[in-house]
Each structure stands twice: as structure tokens, then as C-alpha cells.
Amino acid sequence: MSTDNILTVEHLSKEFKSGDDTVHVLNDISFAIERGTSCALVGPSGSGKTTLIAICAGLERPSKGAVELDGVALHQASEEKLARIRNQSIGFIFQSFQLLPSLTALENVMVPAEIAGERMVRASALELLGRVGLRNRMYHYPMLLSGGEQQRVAIARAFMNQPNILFADEPTGNLDAETSESIVKLIFNLNSMNRTTLILVTHDRELTEQADRIITLKAGRLASDVTKPKSEGSTSDG
């Protein structure tokens, strides 16, 4: 495996039991993501996108195959180790924002650092809130924020522990077009500033177009894997 790759997926399969039947959600998927790049994972509903990033982020274990993130074999790691990796190496942005309703915006941003046992995290959280333009709303509870504002808080939280890789699952799926645009900009700006690897699950064409690479899934299989050339493009169909 290349040392430039932050994420390597090899012959990954995932199946679920549904009554007496076995549902094959992912079938023999292999790819590698280069550090510092962005990748959009696209495909119709039910094609296995969310399951794939869940496995890549150590939220789910594969039925077969191997996943390596930053040199750690996630498919073999203990729950303890997975928790540590999720906390320190991975950032998440969700479609439904997933803010803790009982915490203020500032506190929501601080949570990942606090779980890591860090102290004096308030300044970093404030700075992040400032970067997403919500410093003046830091004491607001999520229910007092609009959808776009909630997603900004979630983005700030995702960058709090300076992750190596960021997983975003339909980050604009619950937002209107105008808000989506600003969120997309924000994600990519922060991503380039922090040199974070970004993996997006999306149906949003604008978001897809901004990614360095587009992986398409169909019925649990890799349908295509397109990397945009920085100067000269290269394509490989799966």
C-alpha cells in the first residue's frame, strides 16, 4: 500500500441478515484515498454509500475484506481503539446535524476535545465558531439555531480535534440551495486550510463537482472511480 494513502479499502463486503435472507449491501470493493484529497461518494439510494463510510470510519465492521486508516487496520481494531481513532483522527458531519440539544453551540464544539481529555479547549472552540461565523451565537441552544447554523456548528465540531480525515454524510441534504452553497464553501475552505482528507456522501452535484475524485456505487458494487486531473485528468471505470 502506498504511504500517501490515508485510507485503503481492499475486497470489502458487507452483508446483513434480514429474517432468513442475507442482504449483500457491499460486494468486493477496493479503493485507496490519498492524503489531503477530497472524494465524493455518489450513487442511488440503497447503493451502500452510507454503509461504506460507516465501515471506513470504524462505525461498522465489514463482513469480509480489510480497511486501513492511517496505518491502522480498522477491521481488526478493538472497540476501545476504534473509539480513540474516531475521536482523534476522524471528523464527522451528518445530514441531520446531530447536535446535542441540551448543550449550547460552544459546548457542542468543545465535546470532542473534552472526550480526548484536553483542557483549555474553550479558546479553540471559540476560534472555530468564529471561522464558521457563529461566534455571536455561541450560547444559543441548537433549537434556537436555523438548519444552516446548526450545520455550521457541526462543522466546527468536526474540525475541533484537527482530524486527519473528515466524513460528511449528505451534509447539505437538509438545507435549502442558498445555505447549501455556503456550507459547501465552508467545508472545502476548512478542508484546504487544515489539509484534511474529505470523504463526502452526497447527491449534491455542486458538492460532487468540487471533489478531487468521484467514486460511484451501484447495488453495492464500485461502478466507477473518477479522479479529476489537477492538470491532466485520468479515468478508470470499475
Binding site: 462505525l59 476501545e80 473509539a83 465535546v111 473534552e114 480526548a116 481529555g117 480535534n161
Partner: protein, 845 residues
């Protein structure tokens, strides 16, 4: 499984608790009640036992009391003289008391006293008693219950035998005796100097002679009693010392306290169910947040710890409030149980009570909260990714099973420690589990049945109300269990009381005797017979009664057995006067269970074959063939157990421990018991008045006296137990309140949806009322069914037959419980309907 040492866990717990925790605090109010009850029960025990110790001398009223079943002999008097000190004498026996003003009479316990007794404590009377005045003339102190019963008052006259006494005071409390005892055997005190004039002590009368001593301060009474033990043995005197009396009363009070602690523990378990139910909803609400925490790197045990910390904090707050309420309420408990207490407990703050409340309450709350919370550690972080995430079915959580097992073990340990026996603890735990499971199953089955049958003819709001029982997070089963348990206790209590009275009433059938005249002398038989005939009272039997004492069992002298500390035969069985009869056949209330019936015998061919009642045979440790020696007025008579009988003691007729064959006792000193059937209670009262006028030594018991005594005793007992039942029901309603609060979010969403679909507020309100009508009615019916079954079980166990319980009071209990449930539920939901749809929509968005 738990990680409390990470600072972020504490911070997260604190931050997350700022919103919603006050509501959760209200939901946990059952813990407040549970802790208060435990503090109350344990403090009561501590205070009571401390008061018994502090007032120990007043429990006996003297330093020492010596008892005899015979009038004191010269030797006895010599011993008393040697012992010295200040002395008072008391002669006690049962007799009829008549109130000439009304002509009413009843059986009472007469106590004729001399001297300054009680030396410690006082006979509490209204007006306050002056012993000097009391002993001056023919005065009487009469139990206040008797005065109330016959509408008599201080200054009236009461007649005992041939002597009239002026009622000097109404007797409220006797040191060391409970008020409940006075219901069964009301007491009348008279001066000993006037006893002779009553002429009530006749041959065969059962009389207890007592002498009370007060010694100089510092006298070692226990040592003194030990020193004179051989003399006491020889003179057949029984010694009662302060420590002996204190130990015996403390043991009785410990039993009362045990009952109270166990009853309270049931309420604590119910509160535990309430906590589990509230926490279940809480854990469901927090599942998304827990999944997110897992997503961003929190470990499973840290996630559980965040929410467990919050619940622990709530439990501490609830425990503190419970301690406050328990300490405040403890001064009211003695008033509630005053009929059963021999002393008025001095109420002080009991540290043990507080510790017990906090430990029992918090351990219960913690373990029951842990049950649903541990599931959070298995929450998949994927839930944060997809709200519709369906977890693959998992095997049963072994940790949950371990906690359940731990709870059962702790219940068993608590019950065993309280009852002082593993076996009894096991029975208690088993019974609690059976009742809890049976109620839960009955409630579940009831709900399903109603859901199957009712929708066909119900309007929309009622169908909606019924469907609401199956709403997620509704905690229907927990609420029904809580309300059902309270109803169960109320119905079972009512059932037992009703059943006992009806059993007694029913046993005295159309042709059964309902009146017994005791202590009828041979020369009085004919005249009383004529009186009965004149009043059309049928005479069923004339039963001869011969009083005798046990002298030896299986060749061993009674004195020797009494001196043997390893003997398991209780002292009362050895010392008592056996009132025996002789006849050639079994009566309708008896059944031969072992050996052969011997109808006649010759007094010269001893041992005489006698019939012994099964229970007393077990107490004395004898079986068919064993020898027993009796003494009749000092004359020994050797007998052998020929058979064992089972006796139905519940009939209104004289029954006997020992029955001799004909041909042996005919010439012994004897009196008679006349058994008859009065056509009405008026005829019975008329006969008693006429008999007492001419033969004051004769005592009478009739069915109305038995029923009224039984009823008043049961009323008092049920009163105290009903307190526990109401508290259980109150705990049930706190669980209901928790459920209402817990499901508020669902209700608001549901209300919005229904209103969006065009439902009027009235329809939504009707649906809410319908939901609680179904909840209350199904729970109350489940509780009532179980209560009736328990009543039947007890009836069958005690009487051998099951009897139907009167349906109207049961229906009244069901209606009252349902109405209260509707009221509590509907009130809790008022805000849901009042809230404007738009505001609710925004808040929910």
C-alpha cells in the same frame, strides 16, 4: 462498565442535565416517597424500641410480679413477706358486666386491685385517676370502648355479680397493654376490697392472682428472682420481671415493625419499577445523543456514565427530599398505629432510619435505573448516521440479566434479614415476584383483549385513547403494575375482612347454636333451662366442664419440664387450667384423625383413654399411646392418649382440648356450659339480662358479640394496613405522573398531527380521558382479580372453603382508582391541548 473519573463525563452530565432534568426530577418523585417510607418505618422501629427500653418499668408497672392460678397460700404470703418492698395485689377473671341504666351486658375482664399499683407509669383515665379516691368505695374504671359501646358515661353504674360500682373513670391506657387487646377483652378495674361482694369467684372459675412489688432503688431484682427460683417452682408461682416483660413486648413490637418494613419495601420496589420505567424513556430519548457521543469517540462505558451520573444526582436529591419528608412524617405514624402500641414512642431523629432510607432508596433507584441505561452502551454509533438505522437483533444482554439477578438477590437478602429467616425471605420474595408478574401479565392480557374487542363499537376519540396504550414510551405496563398493586392490596384487605366476618356468620347456620352460657352451676341448670324455654330459645346441649391441671407428660413432671431450658413445650400449655369434658361420642365440630374413640371407661382402671385435640397434642409433643397425668383439685388421674381429634374452633359452641370418656368424671366438681339457639339477638339479650339478674356468676357469649368484636378488631388492623395500601397506591400515581411527563413529547406530536388532520380539541381531550379510563380500569380490574384470588386463597387456607367476596365494595374500589387515574392523567396532559399548534410545531421542529 462505569467510568466516573473522567472529567468530561462530569461536565457532559452537568451540561446535559440543565435542560429537562427538572422534569426528570418530577418523574422520579416515587423515589422521594420510597425513601420517606423507609425512613419512616426504620425510625419508627428505632424510636419504639428505645421508648420500650426507656419506659421499661412502666410496662410492668412494678419491679416484679408473681402469678398464681390458685389463691395465694400461707407459704406464698410468707415468701412475699420475706421479699418485702411495697406490694399490691390483683385478682383477674372474666365475667359479665351489666349496665343497669340500659340493661346491656357483655363479657369483660375484671381486675380487682389493691395498693398503689401501678408503681411506674399510670392507668390513663378520663378524668385523671386518684388511687386514694378509687380504693375508698365501690368504684370502677371501665374500658372506654365498653362505655362507647353501651353509651355509658363516668358517674353511671356498672354491675359485676351482686355488687354495683360507680364508674369513676374511662380507662384509656394501661401500661404495657395495647388498645387492640381491649377490643377483644375489655377491662374493668375495681378495688380488691369490694371483690368479695360480687360473689363472682365460684368453684371452677378461672382466676389469675398476682402480686406486684416495688423495691428500694438499687435492688437487684433479677438476682433475687434467681435466688428464689426453687421456691417459686415449688409454690407454682410465675415471676414476671421488668426485663422479661420488656423483652416480650419488644419481640411483639419487632413483629409489627417487620410487617411495616416489608410493606414499605413493596412500595420501594414499586418505586424501583417507576424509576426503571422513567429511565427507559430517558434512555430512549438519549439514544441519538449517545450514538453521536460514540461517533465522536466516547467509549460505551463513558456514554452510560454520563446518564447514570445524572440519575444518581437525581436520586441523591430525591433521597434528601425523602429523608426530609420521612423525618417530618414520623411524628404522625405512632398516632396511626396507637391501637397496637404498648407505649407512646418518643419521637427523635433516628440516624439509622435516615441511613436505611438513603441506602435502600438509592440502591433500589440505582439498580432499577441501571437496567435500561446499560443498553446505551450497546447503542451503535451508526444511529447518528441514519435515524432509521435498524440494529441487527442481538442476544439478550448478560449484564441486564445479571442486574435483574442482583435485584432479586438483594430483595431476598433484605426480606430474609428483616424476617430473620431465609425460608420466610424466600417466600416473601417469591410472593412479590408472583404478584408483580401476575399483575403485569393480567394488565397486558387485559389491554390486548380490550384492543381486540372494543374498537368495533367505539367512536374515534375512544379508539384513539385505546390505541394510545400502545404508544411508544407510554410505560403502560409499568403504570398498570403500579396502580394494580395498590388496588390489589385494597381489594385483598377488604376481601379478607369481609370473608372472615361472613365465614363466621355463615358457619352459624339455620340450626346451629349461636349462644353459649358458661359457668352454670349444677343447681342453676334447671332454672336457666326454664328461662330459655320461656324465651323460645332452643337448648342444644348441656356440656359438663371439669377444670384440671397437667401434672406430668410421658412420665415427666410438669415442674421438671418447666425447669428444663431445652424443653420446647411453651409454659402456657403446662400452666394453664384445662377445662375438659366427658362424653361418649364425637360432636359435629370434631373429626377423629388418629387412634380409636373410647366411649366409656371405669375410673378404677387407670390410665383412662382420653381424646386430645391435634393442635395441643403437637404443642405438648404427645401422640396416641402416650401417658398424660392430670390433677383435679389435687387428685391425680392417669390417662393415655387414645386418639387425636381435629376441632372446628370457629363454631359458637364449647370445644375442648381434652375429652374424657363417660364413667370417669361424673363425680368430679364441675359446672356446665349451656348451648342454645336464640331466634333473634333481642331474645339472646333478654335471656342474658334475666340470667345475670338471678345468676350473676354466669357468663354469656353470643354470635353478635363475636361478630362485633371481630369486626372492631379487623377494622383496626385493616385501618393500619390500609395506610400501607394507600401509600402503595400513591407510589403508583407518582409512577403515573412520571409516565405522563415522560410521554409528553409524543403526546404533543400526536396532538399536532391530529389537529392538522382536523381533530377538535374536545376530541383530543376525550382521547386522553379515554386512555386513562382504559389504563385505570384495566389496572384496577387486574389488581382486583388478583386481590379476590388472594382472598380466596386465604379463605381456603384458613377455612378449607373459598367464599365469594361481596362485589359492590370491590366495584367501588375499582371505580375510585379509575377515577383518580383519569383525574391525575388528564390533569397532567392539559398543557398538551392548550398549546397552540403552531407554537408546538415550531418547538418540535
Amino acid at each position: 462498565m462505569i467510568t466516573f473519573w473522567k472529567p468530561w463525563v462530569w461536565r457532559m452530565a452537568y451540561r446535559d442535565s440543565r435542560r429537562g432534568l427538572p422534569r426528570l426530577l418530577l418523574s422520579m418523585s416515587s423515589v422521594v416517597l420510597a425513601v420517606a417510607l423507609v425512613v419512616l418505618a426504620y425510625s419508627f422501629r428505632e424510636n419504639l424500641l428505645a421508648s420500650i427500653q426507656a419506659q421499661s418499668k412502666s410496662l410492668l408497672g412494678a419491679d416484679l410480679a408473681l402469678d398464681s392460678r390458685e389463691p395465694f397460700s400461707k407459704d406464698d404470703e410468707q415468701l412475699f413477706h420475706t421479699l418485702g418492698g411495697d406490694q399490691s395485689k390483683q385478682v383477674g377473671f372474666t365475667s359479665m358486666a351489666t349496665f343497669p341504666a340500659s340493661g346491656d351486658s357483655r363479657l369483660v375482664q375484671v381486675r380487682a386491685i389493691s395498693g398503689q399499683f401501678p408503681y411506674y407509669g399510670a392507668l390513663e383515665t378520663t378524668p385523671p385517676l386518684s388511687l386514694e379516691v378509687f380504693h375508698l368505695s365501690a368504684n370502677a374504671l371501665v374500658d372506654e370502648n365498653v362505655l362507647l359501646q353501651f353509651n355509658a358515661k363516668v358517674g353511671d353504674v356498672v354491675k359485676l355479680g351482686n355488687q354495683e360500682f360507680r364508674i369513676l373513670g374511662s380507662l384509656r391506657k394501661i401500661p404495657g397493654e395495647t388498645l387492640a387487646f381491649s377490643l377483644i377483652s375489655p377491662r374493668i378495674y375495681i378495688p380488691l376490697a369490694y371483690l368479695e361482694r360480687t360473689q363472682l369467684i365460684q368453684p371452677g372459675s378461672v382466676v389469675r392472682y398476682r402480686v406486684f412489688f416495688k423495691f428500694a432503688t438499687g435492688t437487684q431484682v433479677e438476682r433475687m428472682v434467681k435466688a428464689i427460683a426453687p421456691q417459686l417452682q415449688r409454690l407454682q408461682l410465675d415471676a414476671d420481671t421488668v426485663s422479661k416483660r420488656t423483652a416480650s413486648i419488644a419481640a411483639n413490637m419487632e413483629n409489627l415493625s417487620r410487617f411495616l418494613r416489608l410493606a414499605v419495601f413493596v412500595a420501594v420496589l414499586l418505586a424501583g419499577v417507576g424509576v426503571a420505567s422513567v429511565t427507559y424513556v430517558y434512555a430512549k430519548d438519549k439514544a441519538q445523543a449517545a450514538a453521536l457521543l460514540r461517533c465522536i469517540g466516547a467509549r460505551p462505558r463513558e456514554t452510560v456514565s454520563v446518564y447514570l451520573l445524572q440519575l444518581l444526582f437525581l436520586t441523591v436529591v430525591c433521597a434528601a427530599a425523602g429523608v426530609g419528608i420521612g423525618v417530618w412524617a414520623q411524628s404522625y405514624l405512632p398516632a396511626l398505629l396507637k391501637d397496637f402500641l404498648p407505649v407512646a414512642p418518643v419521637i427523635e431523629i433516628s440516624p439509622l432510619g435516615i441511613v436505611a432510607g438513603v441506602v435502600v432508596g438509592m440502591t433500589t433507584a440505582f439498580l432499577f435505573a441501571l437496567l435500561p441505561l446499560v443498553s446505551l452502551r450497546r447503542i451503535s454509533p451508526l444511529m447518528a448516521l441514519r435515524s432509521s438505522y435498524d440494529e441487527e437483533p442481538r442476544a439478550r444482554d448478560p449484564l441486564v440479566l445479571s442486574i435483574v439477578l442482583l435485584i432479586v438477590m438483594l430483595v431476598l437478602a433484605f426480606a430474609s434479614a428483616t424476617l430473620g429467616s431465609w425460608r420466610q425471605g424466600l417466600v416473601f420474595t417469591g410472593a412479590v415476584l408472583v404478584v408483580f408478574f401476575a399483575l403485569a401479565i393480567l394488565a397486558r392480557v387485559g389491554t390486548l383483549l380490550v384492543r381486540q374487542v372494543a374498537p368495533r363499537f367505539l367512536s374515534f376519540p375512544w379508539r384513539q385513547g385505546l390505541a394510545n396504550l400502545h404508544r411508544p414510551s407510554n410505560q403502560t405496563t409499568a403504570v398498570m403494575l403500579a396502580i394494580g398493586l395498590g388496588t390489589f392490596l385494597l381489594v385483598a384487605l377488604h376481601g379478607v375482612q369481609d370473608m372472615l366476618l361472613r365465614q363466621v356468620d355463615r358457619r352459624v347456620g339455620q340450626d346451629e347454636p349461636n349462644l353459649v352460657l358458661f359457668d352454670v352451676q349444677n343447681e342453676q341448670r334447671q332454672a336457666i333451662g326454664a328461662l330459655m324455654e320461656r324465651l323460645e330459645i332452643s337448648r342444644h346441649a348441656e356440656v359438663p366442664v371439669v377444670t384440671m391441671r397437667l401434672a406430668a407428660i410421658k412420665g415427666r413432671r410438669v415442674e421438671e419440664i418447666r425447669a428444663d431450658e431445652t424443653s420446647k413445650i411453651p409454659s402456657w400449655a403446662l400452666r394453664r387450667e384445662y377445662r375438659s369434658t366427658y362424653r361418649g361420642r364425637l360432636t359435629g365440630t370434631e373429626k377423629l384423625i388418629k387412634g380409636d374413640w373410647v366411649a366409656t371407661a371405669d375410673e378404677r382402671t387407670q390410665p383412662i383413654a382420653v381424646s386430645v385435640e391435634k393442635g395441643i397434642a403437637e404443642t405438648l409433643g404427645v401422640d396416641v399411646g402416650d401417658p398424660l397425668q392430670f390433677e383435679i383439685q389435687g387428685v391425680p388421674i392417669d390417662t393415655r392418649v387414645a386418639n387425636l381429634r381435629e376441632v372446628d374452633w370457629q363454631r359458637v359452641q364449647p370445644n375442648f382440648f381434652v375429652v374424657f370418656p363417660e364413667g370417669v368424671l361424673e363425680k368430679a366438681p364441675q359446672f356446665y356450659a349451656l348451648v342454645g339457639r336464640a331466634p333473634s339477638s333481642q331474645a339472646s339479650a333478654q335471656l342474658q339480662r334475666a340470667v345475670l339478674e338471678r345468676f350473676p356468676n354466669v357468663s354469656a357469649i353470643d354470635l353478635s358479640l363475636i361478630l362485633s368484636t371481630l369486626n372492631s378488631v379487623l377494622d383496626r388492623v385493616a385501618g393500619a394496613m390500609r395506610f400501607v395500601a394507600w401509600f402503595t397506591l400513591l407510589t403508583g400515581f407518582t409512577v403515573l405522573a412520571s409516565a405522563v411527563l415522560g410521554s409528553r413529547g409524543h403526546r404533543v406530536r400526536e396532538s399536532i398531527l391530529l389537529r392538522t388532520l382536523g381533530a377538535a380539541r374536545g376530541q383530543i381531550f376525550t382521547a386522553i380521558v379515554a386512555e386513562y379510563v382504559f389504563t385505570g380500569a384495566i389496572a384496577a380490574c387486574a389488581g382486583a382479580i388478583l386481590g379476590i384470588l388472594a382472598g380466596w386463597g386465604l379463605s381456603y387456607y384458613f377455612f378449607g372453603t373459598a367464599i365469594a367476596i361481596a362485589p359492590l365494595p370491590v366495584l367501588a374500589i375499582i371505580t375510585a382508582v379509575t377515577a383518580t387515574t383519569v383525574l391525575a392523567g388528564a390533569l397532567g396532559c392539559l398543557g398538551v391541548i392548550r398549546r397552540p399548534a403552531l407554537e408546538a410545531l415550531r418547538a418540535e421542529a
